[in-house]
Structure formats: C-alpha cells, structure tokens
C-alpha cells in the first residue's frame, strides 16, 4: 500500500476518541486553538480555499469558494452540518459521528469562526439514534471544556450549537430541503436561486457542509493547505473515506488518498472479490451514481476522473456487485428507493420515478414486456436533468448504465417471463 497515513480515521478502532481527554491527548482541539488564537477568519477561508478541499457531501463543490460567497451585509449567518447521510451504500458520516464526534465539533467551531456564524445547526439523520446520543454527550463535554458558548478560549468568538434530528426522509439531506426541515416545514428542496449563501436558513446567509468536509478543516489548519493539496489530484485532493459494500471480501470504510484507482481500492483495500466470483458492476458514488464495469477499473477515485467516466464520486459509497447479482433486481431496489423518497414536487421525478419503479418491478416479476424495455431505454431523456433537485436525476443513472451494458440480462427477464437469478437467492443488491 502507498505511504498514505490515514488522517480522518486516525485512531479509530484503537482509541476511544469519543472521550474528550483521549481526543485532546492525540492532538484534538489544537487546530481550534491555532485558528482562534493565531488566525483571522479571512486567513482560515484563504487556507481552506488554497487547499482545494471539495465538499464530501456529494456535489464536490469547493468549500473555500462556498464560504467566500457569503454576502458581507451584516445579516446573521448560519452554518449547518449535514449529517443526514442516507445515500444508499454510504456509511462514513455515521462512523465519524459515533467514533470521533469531537473531530466534527472541532471542524464546526473552526468553520463557524471562519464564516462568522454564531449559530450552528447539526442536522442528524433520525435513524442515527446512538450517534445522536454520543454526539450529544460530546457536545456537553465540549461545552463544559469551554469550546462552545461565549468567548471561546478567550477569543471573543461566541458560538451556539443546536442539535436537530431529522425524521427519516432522504430528501432532507439535500441542503435546501434540510433548511426547510430545520424551519419546521416539509422537507422539500427550494428553487434556486436564491442560493443558501444569500437566503438560507430563515432567509439568512447560510453554509451547509457535510460532516466529512468539516472534519478535513482542522487538519488543513494544523498542517497547511499545501500538505492537503499535495494528496492526490491537485484539483480534488485530500484524504477521502470510501464506504465499500457489496460482494467484496472485506466491506467497510476505508480512508484513501484521493485519486487511487478503483482497482486498487477494490483489491488492496477491500480484499478483492469473493473467491471464484467475477465483477459485474460497481457503483462508485452511492445509489445515485451510474455503474462502472470491469473495463473501467483503472479510473481514479476522485471527482474529476469519475465525472469523465460519466459517473461520479458522489458521497463515496462504493457498491460492488459480482456475477451473482441480478441487475434488474438491483435496479428495482434503487429505483424503488428514489420513488419512495421523492418529495413529489417535480413532475418527472414524482411521476416518472413511480412509473419506472412499476416497470422494473414488473420485469423482475416476470410480467415485463418489450414495450417496457423500449420505454426504459429512452425515458432517461425526460426524467434526468428536468427536475428541481438532483434526486430526480438520480433515478435513472444506474439503471440506464446497466441496461446499456447488459441489455441481454433485461431482455432475458422478458423472454423467460421471470428473473433468471431466482435460483440464486444469495445474490446481493445494493
């Protein structure tokens, strides 16, 4: 393995980092101290910009740039931490929340200081009950230690952190739906513009950042932008946690330097496929991403390389499917998820998703027709790219990519009036 030292996951599995003393003994809160005592907010924004850190929530938007979009008009600003992680195949934020909560808190305070937000909302997915309790305890410990509240570490900076639990809707992970949810409304994405930077929470300038993004910030402060941007491709550098799941020997979260190949990730980190199996498809960026295949394994695991392959790094959920996987069934599982999670505002997402789910379900049940295959082949044109938020654009990529690559597997479901994999019930879908 390369000489890459884990950064974000360092100590996880060995130390009880949910204990504030342990966290401090291993360098915890040193970045906060440096930031508050030695750096101006502008300097922090500058450092983060220079590091080329790109958001780990899915879209890969440059974090420093996002911060510098905030208008300087004296209105109160808010920082929201997105810990709603619900993307199929993604479980990295949940791990950070449970195993190293102070890293999140430290990242949050530094970032809030950098953008001058005195109120921070931590939005935790409703199902993460254990994580919520751990984080709540961590919050109390950090407050008791003087890292939160008034005049933090004598810097004059005051910050309050509000915990907000979601109620189980995937769409609330979308940043504007999250803001609606925090405001007590239905979790539904807003029309943009205006962007949250201008009119976010309660109409005020707001930054929404992913948990992992924020966890990168203390390290950038401690070690400098140069160190960070030297890890991996210069345009999307840094350490990255990938959640590997599916038909591999060792599923789990792996911290990699951005840009290593999919093959390296699969073989060196995740222990390769199970004995005797052949690779069929991989979703490199969670349930929303188009699949890559055997022939694509040299692609770099980073935002730009995957985008060039017409898929994405997304949230970093790396889902591996071997030759036992029925891709119709896998598609059905995913499409059903999006159909169920659609907020229902947009016609293509709401109606199209429901229609596709019914068609794929029919195929899998052996009741599909050639007409269904024809429609599935073109419906991408009217569903994808026509919606208000990216959820609608997530319905089709996987299905379209595997239908294009394995048309015969879909056709077989029609010809045989049933699923050819029925006899292999141990197959695994996403």
């Amino acid at each position: 393995m390369a000489a890459f030292e884990p950064v974000l996951t360092k100590g996880i599995g060995e130390l009880d980092l949910a204990d504030i003393d342990v966290y401090k003994q291993h360098g915890g809160f040193s970045a906060l101290e440096k930031a508050l005592k030695e750096m101006t907010p502008e300097a922090i924004v500058g450092e983060v910009s220079a590091s080329n850190l790109r958001g780990r929530g899915g879209a890969g938007f440059p974090t420093g740039k996002k911060w510098s979009f905030l208008p300087k008009d004296g209105r109160p600003r808010y920082l929201v931490c997105n810990c709603d992680e619900a993307e199929p195949g993604t479980f990295k934020d949940h791990m950070l929340l449970r195993l190293t909560p102070f890293a999140i808190i430290e990242g949050l305070i530094i970032s809030a200081y950098a953008i001058n937000a005195s109120h921070v909302v931590m939005y935790i997915r409703g199902e993460f009950l254990e994580g919520y309790r751990i984080f709540k305890r961590a919050l109390a410990a950090a407050s008791a230690a003087g890292y939160l509240g008034k005049d933090i570490m004598g810097s004059g900076f005051t910050m309050e952190l509000i915990l907000h639990r979601g109620a189980g809707a995937y769409i609330c992970g979308e940043e504007t739906a999250m803001l609606e949810s925090i405001e007590g409304k239905r979790g539904e994405p807003r029309l943009k513009p205006p962007f949250p930077a201008n009119a976010g929470l309660y109409g005020m300038p707001t930054v929404v950042n992913n948990v992992e993004t924020l966890c990168c910030v203390p390290h950038i402060i401690n070690r400098g932008a140069g160190w960070f941007s030297a890890i991996g491709p210069p345009k999307c550098p840094g350490p990255k946690i990938i959640s590997v799941s599916g038909n591999v020997a060792n599923p789990g979260n792996y911290e990699i330097p951005m840009g290593i190949s999919a093959r390296e990730l699969l073989e060196e980190y995740a222990g390769g496929l199970l004995p005797g199996r052949r690779l069929k498809a991989i979703q490199p960026g969670g349930g929303s991403s188009a699949a890559i295949f055997e022939e694509d394994l040299n692609v770099g695991i980073d935002f730009d390389s995957l985008a060039a392959k017409k898929t994405m790094l997304g949230s970093g959920g790396f889902v591996v499917m071997d030759d036992r996987t029925c891709l119709v069934r896998a598609s059905q599982t995913l499409v059903r998820f999006f159909e169920h999670e659609s907020c229902g505002q947009c016609t293509p997402c709401r109606e199209g998703g429901q229609w596709v789910a019914r068609m794929v379900g029919r195929l899998e049940a052996g009741e599909g027709s050639v007409n269904d295959l024809r429609v599935l082949g073109v419906i991408n044109n009217t569903i994808t790219g026509t919606n208000l938020c990216p959820l609608g654009d997530s319905i089709m990529p996987f299905l379209s990519s595997v239908l294009r690559r394995f048309p015969e597997e879909f056709a077989a479901h029609v010809q045989q009036a049933g699923c050819p994999f029925q006899k292999a019930p141990e197959f695994s879908a996403a």
Partner: protein
C-alpha cells in the same frame, strides 16, 4: 435560536417586480425584445406573444418551478431551464419550440397523464383545462402506459365550498400557495409525499377560507370544483357578462356566466387596481337566492291585514294615493340608495325631491353615517406601499374581504405595520397591534394624537398615545381605514391626517361602509342636506333617524324604502319597529321578503344586479359599469322602472328615466353642471349627521349585575337579505352568538355552547355563548344583523347598547326555540351550524 425577522424571510421577489428598470435585449425564437432586466423568461415571451405552457407558475405568486412543463432551451446553458423562474439577462437567446423543448414537454405531459383519470367527459374543467389544452398542443400522441392507473380519493369534501378530486390533481400547488401567500392562512397544504401526495388541510378540518373559490379558478385542472357549479355546465355553453360584485363596497370586477338564461357561476375579471384578480366567496356564491321560492316574483299589496299578489300597475296605483297625499303635507320620507346602482340612487333622490318635493331622503339604513372621507381619499392600491395601516373599528376581513387581501399582502410581504384601534381585538390574518379604546372616545384619542404629532415627540398624552404618535411619526405613508360610523371621530381623523400631511407624510383614508353602494348613494344625493355631487340644499330634510323618530311619533304619513332593510340593520331596533308600525303607509321595493318588507303595505318585487345594467361606486369613489346578465322573472321590475312608474302615477311623467342609460345621462349632466360651477374648489360639504353622543351614555356597565355592554360584530356570511336566503352561502352561515369574557362567564355561570338570552331596551334575543377573552370584560360581542336574533333590539342609535344576560336552562331553550321561529331561514340548503 433567535429567528430573525425582516426582509430576509421572503425568499424571492414577486414575479411582477423585475429586479431593475434597466432594459435588456433578449431573443426568443428569433424575435428580439427589450424587457426590464430580471423579467422572467415566461413574461418576456408573453411580451412577444409567445406563450410558454405553465402549470405551477401563476403571475400573482412566487415562482416555485415544480411542474417542469415550462422547460425551454437557453443558449450557453447545457440543461433546459424553466421559463417560469429564470430571469432574462442581456443577450440571452431562448428557444421555446426546439425539438429538445418539445421532447421535454411531451415527457412532462406523459407523466402527468399516466395516472390521470379519464374524467374529461364529465369534468367541470373540460373545455377550459390546461391539461387538455397543453396535451392537444404539445402532448404525446399516444400513451405508453401499460398498466392500470393508480387511484386516489375522488369527490373529497374539502370544505363548505369545494369538492376535490385527488386523481385529477397534478400537484402544481397553486391552491396551497394561494392559501399561504395570497390569503396568508396556511391551512391548505400538501400531505403525504411523492406520488402519494394529496391536497388537504393543515388542521385536518374543513377548508373554510373566505377566498376558497379562487382556488377553483387557478387550479389548472378539474381537481378543485365549486359545489354550486359542479356538473352544472360545460364552459363552451356559457355566456359571459361583465359585471361588478355588489356584496360589499370594494366593488370587485367579475364576470357572470350564464346558461339557459340562468346564472351558473361567477368568475374573476381582473382589475389590478381593485381586486387584483380575486373575489371573495360571499361575492362569488351569492346568486342562487335568485332561484329560491322565497324570491319575490310579483308585487304584493296588503288587503285586510294580509298580503295579496298584485299586478305591477295595481301596486303602483295602491302606492300613488298615499304617497301623493303625504307629499302634499310634506309628511313623507324616502330611505334607500346604498344597495342600488348610481343611476337608481340618483333617481331615488330625484323622486324624493322632484316628485315628492321633500328633502327627506337618506341612504343610511344602518349605523354608518359617512361613506367618504372629506379629504385624502385613498385608492386601494395605496395599501400596497403603505408603511402604516391604521384601522378604526372597521372589520376589513368581514366587511371588505378583497381589500383585506391587499392589506394582508402589504403587511406580510411588503412590511407595512397594522394597527387596530377599537373596542376589542378582532381577528386579522396578519400580525396586528391593537389599541383597545372605548367607542365614542376615539375622536378624543385622535385629537390627542394630532396634538402630540404636532408638538413633535414630547411626552404628551398618556403612555400609549405617545406610543401611537411615535408609530405615526416613524412611518412613511399612512393609510387609515374607518367604518364611517362615528362622524366626530372621522372629523378628528381628518385633522390628524392634516397634521401628518403637513409633516410630509403621504396619507390616505378609506371608508368601509356596510352597504355596497353607500358611496355612490352619498355622491348621488341620497342625503337630506346634499343634492347630487355634494351640493348643499337650502332646506335640509330629515335623516333616517329623524324620519324614524317622526314616524314613531305619528308625524309622517308615508315612507318609501328601496333596497334597504332598516328593520334589521338600523341600530335602534326599538325606534325602527315603532316607526314602521306607526307610519300609516309603507311601500318597499325589495328582492326578498325582508323584515322591513314584511311590515309594508305595498311590496314591489325588484330586480337584482344580475338583471339590470348600471354603475356602482366603490369605496374609493371609483365608478364601474355592470351589465345585465339575465332577464328578471316576469312581474319583477328594476328599481328604476318602479321609481319611474310611481313618478308617472304621481303626475310627473318623464321626470324619472325608466332606462339606465337615460338615468345615467341625467346623473352625468347634473355632475358636469356642478363640476363647472364648483371650479377648483375641492373641500366638499359633509353629510348631515345625527348627534347621538348623548345616547350611549345612559346604560353604564354594572359589573355586579348581569349587565353587559353590547357591541355588534359583522360577519361575512351574516346579515339578512341575500345571504340569509342563498343556498350557496347557507353552509357557511354563522349561528347567532355572543362572545363573552371568561370573567363574565364565571359570574354569569356560562360555558361555551350555552344558550344565553340577552335582554335590552328593544326586547331580547337568544344566542349561543362563546367564552373567549377576545371580548373585553363587561362586553358581549354579538353577531350583527341576524334575522333570528336581531341585535338591534339591544342597541340605540349610536350602534352600541347594553343588555342583561341570562343563561337559558334546557326547558327554556326548548320554549325559546319553538317561540323564536318567527323568521324564515333560507330555503334550499338547511342552515348548517357554522362557527364564528
């Protein structure tokens, strides 16, 4: 966390307000156009005559970009963009008809049609449905759906006015956004999620907004349907007539849609200056009373104490003698005009003055005394940029709903402040500050305010006087609204406005009267001291109060009342009853058997607004024309025809025009003459008013006894006349109630829901007690003008009164119910027990 208030909360600007006045050049489908920067693409296209299909977009609401039917291609943007929320910029090149756009539209329509029911043949919207129309223009030729349609609830009873078909709903959310953004009520919402989404109410109860009918119009499909119109007609079978609503003094423009000579529905007819494209449900649904058996369809003449049907000529003949005789001695009076057209009001005063030779003419049949401000007449649009809206006593949500909608927008979205000064705290849809002030003392308050404002901010007057004064001084544009009841207070308000005006505040006044055309009647001279256009007469006649007093004292021989129901609406119920009982001859022109008509000697069956043409003057002084939509029933004549025929019978043929155009010409001629004579003089003489200040002093509230001060409160669906008889209004009709303070309730042993008897100077009424601290201690807020419990029995001419309250025990209730059936309620629908 503190929730910040202020401009940030509003997420987007109104579509009608582009971000700047700078013009930019854009090319749409090859055609160049210059529009203000920030104009929405859909509006820019409209300017070129290009229509981009829309569902969720509505020009009066914030764009939300949900339905995606409006996708267009914009050069240099890789993805299709929604025309309804993308704003133009210099050099933008837009294609609305490219193949990519066509494909996207086909796609959206295909999705919308997937589970849409095949209801078109029986759907109310068929023929004016955007889903039908856009499918014709842009839709896929065939369905690719290969499975049964999904089903959702049909014929859902959403509330008293609306039936919802969830299957037809395309979830554009215009209705829910209307309720939130325009009505500011937020009860109509989306429930469930995704394709399971349904339209429902936030509180789980009925959708009872006063503005509900508008949702049936803005619904692009047939999902929301009006109960009175369901399955009544197809749009292409309807004839359309431009009309004006005559249910309140706002004067919303609307259209009457008819079929087979019968009114099927009414529909908005946007006038941005007046109604902004909306009408309220009272205006929309009050027309089916015309088709009830209770509608008067021929004249009635009293013979031997009983009414007998008579021909028009017989009724005229029966009236001519008594009226002529009374005119001879000058012991005659005329009341009415406030519910007639301008030309009829003009003709009515002409009838009084030139045929009966009396100045005893007054349109004021209720507590309202003034219909116009002496100075600073505001326009409704002045509310839009007001910074302070000051209401004195007027209940705008109940008395002028569409004005209230404008007020809601000004407060909720344009940052006006709302201040209500009155004897209690009425409900407003938007945040309001209240100054509780005793009736009768408001004039004093305004004089004090004037004083404080005049002397700068020095602490003068008591605490809150200087507080309001500071609000006034701190505001930019100030609009005051009052109900025209207290002439002294109105005078004091004028002086306050003078002071503010002097300090460079733009100021304006609106008077919200209780009759739809009191403003027109006042201007037309239905006032004892003023002839048309506010010209003083040499020998002022009697006011309504004076006429009633004279009649009660046996000093009047005949009364003619047209389009007014003082028996129910005149505050001094005791006086009006004595007057109507004592006057030897009473002739009434009415559409329905009102409490006044019921005691008349001759009743003329008069036509309704839908059956005649003319003009109405709204509370701004704006005169608007309306046209006859249907023929009156045989035997029913317009008020103009009645006045004209009476004049002829009294030997003054030709003095009163029988036809609206001719009467209008006479009115215009009179106005022109006066305008020329008056020159530049602007300050007009004021209507003569009664000094009733001495009347509301007597009955001081004695908290140790069972005595309560009585304040009548109007409700939109309350009142006698049309609302009492209309089956469309019946489900919304409130039951008589009295709101009583919890402390008084304890003293009186009352619970909410108890029957309580209120007894005052003119008799007693029975109402339901509602216990709430909206009523100040010692006060009962009693629903006004209800035929089965006329509050005027408890009032004096001031419009206020007092009564002893007595809880009714079960057996008394029974007796009360049996005994109180003296007044017919509307036939057709059973009166439902709607709440406040």
């Amino acid at each position: 966390m503190p929730i910040p208030k202020g401009p940030g909360v509003q997420r987007s600007v109104s579509p009608l307000q582009p971000s700047s006045h700078r013009l930019v050049n854009v090319i749409i489908d090859g055609n160049a156009v210059s529009v203000p920067e920030g104009t929405l693409v859909v509006e820019a296209a409209k300017a070129l005559g290009t229509s981009v299909p829309v569902y969720c977009y509505h020009p009066k609401m914030d764009p939300v970009g949900l339905c995606r039917i409006c996708l267009v291609e914009i050069e240099k943007m890789p993805k299709l963009q929604i025309a309804c929320s993308t704003r133009v910029s210099e050099g933008m090149v837009v294609h609305t008809m490219s193949e990519r756009v066509a494909e996207a539209r086909r796609g959206v329509l295909e999705f919308l049609l997937l589970n849409h029911p095949l209801d078109c043949p029986i759907c109310d919207k068929g023929g004016e449905c955007d889903l039908q129309d856009f499918t014709m223009s842009y839709g896929p030729g065939a369905s690719r759906l290969n499975e049964p349609k999904l089903h959702k609830p049909k014929a859902v009873d959403l509330g008293p006015t609306i039936v919802l078909d969830e299957e037809r709903c395309i979830l554009c959310r215009r209705c829910t956004r209307f309720d939130a953004e325009i009505a500011q009520e937020r009860n109509l919402v989306v429930v469930e999620r995704g394709h399971r989404s349904l339209i429902g109410t936030e509180n789980g109860g009925a959708y009872t907004s006063y503005f509900s009918g508008n949702t049936t119009e803005i619904c692009p499909v047939g999902a929301l349907t009006s109960k009175p119109y369901r399955f009544r007609s197809r749009p292409w079978d309807l004839g359309h007539t431009d009309s004006i609503c005559n249910q309140c003094p706002v004067g919303c423009n609307f259209r009457i849609d008819t079929r087979f000579g019968r009114i099927m529905r009414t529909f908005t007819r946007e006038n941005t200056s007046v109604d902004d494209g909306w009408i309220c449900d009272r205006g929309r649904y009050t027309f089916n009373y015309l088709y009830q058996p209770s509608r008067l369809r021929q004249p009635l003449v009293r013979r031997g104490g009983e009414f007998v049907a008579a021909s028009f000529d017989e009724a005229i003949a029966a009236s001519a003698g008594p009226l002529a005789a009374a005119a001879q001695t000058g012991r005659v009076g005329v009341i009415g005009g406030g519910r007639l057209s301008d030309e009829e009001a003009f003709s009515l005063q002409r009838f009084a003055r030139q045929v009966l030779h009396t100045n005893n003419i007054d349109h004021r049949a209720g507590a309202q005394r003034l219909a116009s401000p002496a100075r600073y007449q505001a326009r409704l649009e002045d509310l839009d940029d007001a910074s302070l809206i000051l209401i004195f006593g007027a209940l705008t949500p109940e008395q002028a709903p569409i004005l209230d909608l404008r007020l809601r927008r000004a407060v909720a979205r344009r940052h006006a402040k709302l201040l209500f000064v009155g004897p209690y705290r009425p409900w407003f849809a938007v945040p309001c500050n209240y100054i509780e002030y005793t009736p009768g003392a408001i004039g004093d308050l305004m004089n004090q305010l004037s004083d404080v404002v005049h002397h700068g901010r020095e602490e003068k007057g008591d605490g809150f006087v200087s507080e309001i004064a500071n609000e006034l001084v701190g505001a930019e544009k100030i609009i005051a609204i009052h109900n025209g009841r207290d002439a002294d207070a109105a005078g004091a308000l004028d002086r306050l406005m003078d002071t503010l005006h002097q300090y460079d505040h733009p100021v304006g006044i609106l008077v919200v009267g209780s009759q739809a055309n009191s403003r027109g009647a006042e201007a037309a001279g239905c006032i004892p001291n003023l002839s048309p256009a506010y010209i003083p007469v040499d020998d002022p006649g009697m006011t309504t109060h004076q006429m009633l007093t004279a009649a009660a004292e046996g000093k009047l021989d005949a009364l003619f009342i047209a389009g007014a129901n003082p028996a129910l609406t005149y505050p001094d119920g005791l006086l009006v009853r004595r007057a109507l009982d004592s006057v030897p001859f009473l002739a009434v022109a009415e559409q329905l058997m009102t409490e006044t008509a019921a005691v008349a000697d001759v009743v003329f069956a008069a036509s309704s607004f839908a059956e005649k043409s003319g003009h109405l003057t709204n509370l701004e002084g704006r005169r608007q024309a309306f046209k006859a939509a249907v023929e009156p029933p045989v035997g029913v004549f317009s008020d103009l025809q009645i006045f004209s025929a009476l004049a002829s019978a009294l030997g003054r043929e030709g003095v009163i025009a029988a036809d609206a155009d001719a009467a209008f010409a006479q009115l215009r001629a009179a106005e022109d003459l006066i305008r020329r004579a008056r020159g530049g003089q602007t300050s007009l003489p004021r209507p003569q008013t009664d000094d009733v200040s001495d009347l509301h002093s007597g009955d001081a509230v004695d908290a140790t006894h069972h005595t309560l001060a009585i304040i009548p409160v109007p409700r939109l669906y309350g009142g006698g006349g049309a609302a009492a008889y209309d089956p469309g209004v019946a489900p919304m009709r409130p039951e008589p109630f009295a709101v009583i303070h919890p402390d008084d309730a304890v003293r009186l042993g009352l619970d909410s829901g108890d029957r309580v008897q209120l007894s005052g100077r003119g008799g007693s009424i029975e109402v339901e007690a509602k216990i709430a601290d909206q009523a100040p201690p010692g006060v009962a807020l009693v629903l006004a003008d209800m035929p089965q419990a006329p509050v005027n029995r408890l009032l004096d001419a001031s419009g206020f009164g007092s009564a002893t309250a007595q809880k009714l025990r079960a057996e008394e209730r029974l007796r009360g119910e049996l005994g109180s059936s003296s007044v017919a309620v509307g036939d057709g629908y059973a009166a439902a027990g709607a709440g406040v």
